[in-house]
């Protein structure tokens, strides 16, 4: 029996996580159009409301958190079906399943990369867009914090949907139908936090519930996604 291969060049768990994230970011930089469409969509949807509703400041201020959150939800759906499909088509996903590390870590890397390319830029742009709705400085801060806690959940829950609909025709629409209902709690607590601060109420409860959802999603969705990917490779 020959000896087991030595471990001198073995990649650590964090090395693998870093590799997957940097790979996805590098690919996105070479295909910028994909990332930009999501962001431009977000800017367009949010900007259409003040134009459509008219310049009544009170009304705009009232609907601002809802509009920004719904737009963020929809634009993160746009990029979901690309999360695994390119890797599925060119066979990289097969090789990922054969990686001698936990598949959940690889999936987590892909989720984080997806968030950096969709959730993070949305969060950074949100205060600028919020100005169109005459939001107060405090409300803008809470909006950014709620997006910081909420958008990773969208990427994580979205990953499960994307993995389940992998290789199906019309998977893009299906994944939205599957994932959007599951994102309703995120929407409620996200907008709730901003509304609370504008009406002078306590925001901690909303944000801690969002945080709790984030921890739950972080614990379970990479694992569930990995299982779904294994099933879709059969």
């Amino acid at each position: 029996m020959n000896p087991k291969p030595d471990n001198k060049n073995r990649l650590s768990l964090f090395g693998l996580l870093g590799l997957v994230i940097s790979r996805d970011l590098m690919l996105a930089m070479r295909r910028r159009a994909d990332v930009l469409t999501t962001l431009i969509f977000f800017v367009m949807v949010v900007s259409l409301f003040p134009l459509g509703v008219g310049p009544e400041v009170d009304m705009l201020r009232k609907m601002a958190p809802g509009v920004v959150w719904v737009a963020a939800l929809l634009s993160s759906m746009l990029s979901l079906n690309r999360m695994f499909s390119a890797d599925y088509i060119d066979g990289t996903l097969e090789q990922m399943l054969l990686a001698p590390q936990s598949m959940s870590v690889l999936v987590l890397g892909k989720i984080l990369a997806h968030w950096m390319l969709s959730g993070l830029p949305l969060m950074l742009m949100a205060p600028v867009l919020g100005l169109q709705f005459d939001m107060s400085g405090q409300a803008l801060w809470v909006l950014v914090v709620s997006l910081l806690l909420g958008t990773p959940i969208l990427s994580m829950v979205g990953a499960v949907g994307a993995a389940l609909t992998l290789g199906l025709r019309g998977g893009g629409v299906l994944v939205s139908l599957l994932v959007l209902p599951l994102c309703i709690p995120v929407l409620i607590f996200g907008t709730g936090a901003v509304e609370a601060v504008t009406s002078g109420m306590e925001i901690a409860s909303h944000l801690s519930l969002l945080g709790a959802l984030l921890v739950l999603a972080f614990a379970f969705t990479p694992w569930v996604t990995a299982m779904a990917l294994r099933i879709s490779m059969e």
Partner: protein
Amino acid sequence: MLEICNLACTRGDHQLFSGLSFSLAAGELLQVQGENGKGKTSLLRTLCGFITPAAGEIRWRGQDIRELDEEYYAEMVYLGHLNAIKDELNALENLRISAGLAGCEVSDKEAIEALRHMGLRGRETLPVKVLSQGQRRRVALARLLVGNAPLWILDEPLTALDVGAVGLMQELIGTHLAKDGMVVFTTHQPLEVAGVELRRLTLT
């Protein structure tokens, strides 16, 4: 090392094979033969753990591969019909990433050496989308050179390769076997490795 006991595989309602048993020891070369649709690829994918066998067991070093999981994957390389390389990246980046996914860190120097050995001198930093089919296959095959896994599972490794590259593959398999490696492969082209007895498994 690799033992297959009484393996059966079904796709849909159709039974591809059943009661399949064989074993592979260090330094052995096994060609899986059979007409189109007889289950060659399915057998190789079952060996990779993608497909759950309908019956039977696959054992590596005496243990079921399902139990070994990551330990087994550290000791095998699979090369399928799909090259698993990205058009947007260059050959060097592709090789480093695929080696990284397989769990081993490769320096630029080692990667360039492997690509040059595969006859891609001067193409190392070109985006893969400008390479030909055969050259893409060579990029994918370069992965075999940088890893140190004893078990190679190759599904049609010779597609799109020219005569020179086929010779190179034979040489590569020869050296791997001489180092106590194992190779299971399918091909419709003749593949002779000097000094090694080729075992054949025909699926009917």
